[in-house]
Symmetry: C2
Subunit: 265 residues, 2 copies
Amino acid sequence: MVIVVKAGGRALQSNMENIARNLARMSGEGIVFVHGGGDVVTEYSKKLGVTPIIVTSPSGIRSRYTDEKELEVYVMTMAGKLNKEIVSAIQRYGGKAVGLSGVDGGLLIAERKKKIIIVGEHGRKRIIPGGYTGSIRAVNASLINQLLQAGYLPVIAPLALGAEGEILNVDGDQAASWIARGIAAELLVFLSDVDGVIVDGRVAERLTASEASELAKKIGPGMNRKVALASETVLGGVKRVLITSGLGEDPLSRISTLQGTVIGE
Amino acid sequence: MVIVVKAGGRALQSNMENIARNLARMSGEGIVFVHGGGDVVTEYSKKLGVTPIIVTSPSGIRSRYTDEKELEVYVMTMAGKLNKEIVSAIQRYGGKAVGLSGVDGGLLIAERKKKIIIVGEHGRKRIIPGGYTGSIRAVNASLINQLLQAGYLPVIAPLALGAEGEILNVDGDQAASWIARGIAAELLVFLSDVDGVIVDGRVAERLTASEASELAKKIGPGMNRKVALASETVLGGVKRVLITSGLGEDPLSRISTLQGTVIGE
């Protein structure tokens, strides 16, 4: 059984050792790990004196803009610091981990937005270059499969290669979903800082892809994107997606019991 | 024919595009690339406000000490920034590159100096922990061979895994030599910023391993270590080591003509 596990920066920062120890135990059994780490990137941007650029879309959504300096910190933090810390921790616990980024071997190919429309001062619209952010369009499954077959646990940082060979920043959850679909994983696990998808004050235990897709429209920001993506992932051929907590001493024990919210079937 | 090419930070900083274009052309033909980049690490240490610690050994040799903060910058710069810039450049020119560090899959295993003796103020000797620097002791050749067989060009950053699973900083030339011996390469190429080993004002074209070992005792710092290492590499089973310039438009064309200093045979 092939499983893709994704952990965001928060679960990793507070529980890296337990996650690494659990991963080490499953190393060589068809596990792929994808990590986030946006908060750590923000921390190092500050340390390096890179001022964040916040842009506002015509529909009012404010987001962080990735210019060349911001991308540099992103690459150093994601593919350098975090990736190698996770890889060395897994190996300290006896696993065989190989750290890669989506740039390596064209593992993830993304499309960069050439231009974006932003709303400047006095509400005036302006067109600016799209920055170094991409939407994933393809995955090189063969490289991941070769590493799995050789008994390694691939640890993947959310970078991608653009059409002109440039490095792009991509969303970690999207990266995990594309990889799970690309290698035909049976399960994609999102380790978050909550117990699952909360509906009416309780964890929703089982959702079909279409229920998840409907629910995504009604729930809070952050989790809505994860639930919509889980639905897409199931429709893309992955049997189940598990959204569960990455906290506690044995966070990956929730995989065998499917504790949390299961989307699929 | 399997060839390991090593380029230091200086050749890379001044000639990255040409080196990447040449590597892309040879991609899939049994090439492994090892990079340095100490100068770039120093630059980012300054940017991050990490004060370099210089220690003096009892024999009077002054060297930079790698504490935890310095190691962090080293990992971010080497395995993050430089490694992914090289990998994306090679792919922009049509090659298939996969970036790794010595930490990944236990590619390079090193021994950390537990304690070192330094000479402090007033000439007083002190024993301090050895810092995060290691001497390489083993190489995992199978991971590199698997990537070569799958048609990839491995691009390797000089990090290593210590006995306790910690990340260590290792010398790039040493890393290249160990890798060349580990995968039984026929040629190891050191791309430097000079045309070869200069003896009596000219490039020494051919040297046996024992001539190189003798010569190493008489020549200037920097090149002496490279020549001694070249001799060791040949004695370790690599047929030839080429020390040549990494500058100019087609630096890797010097490989087919063996232009520079050849140690071996």
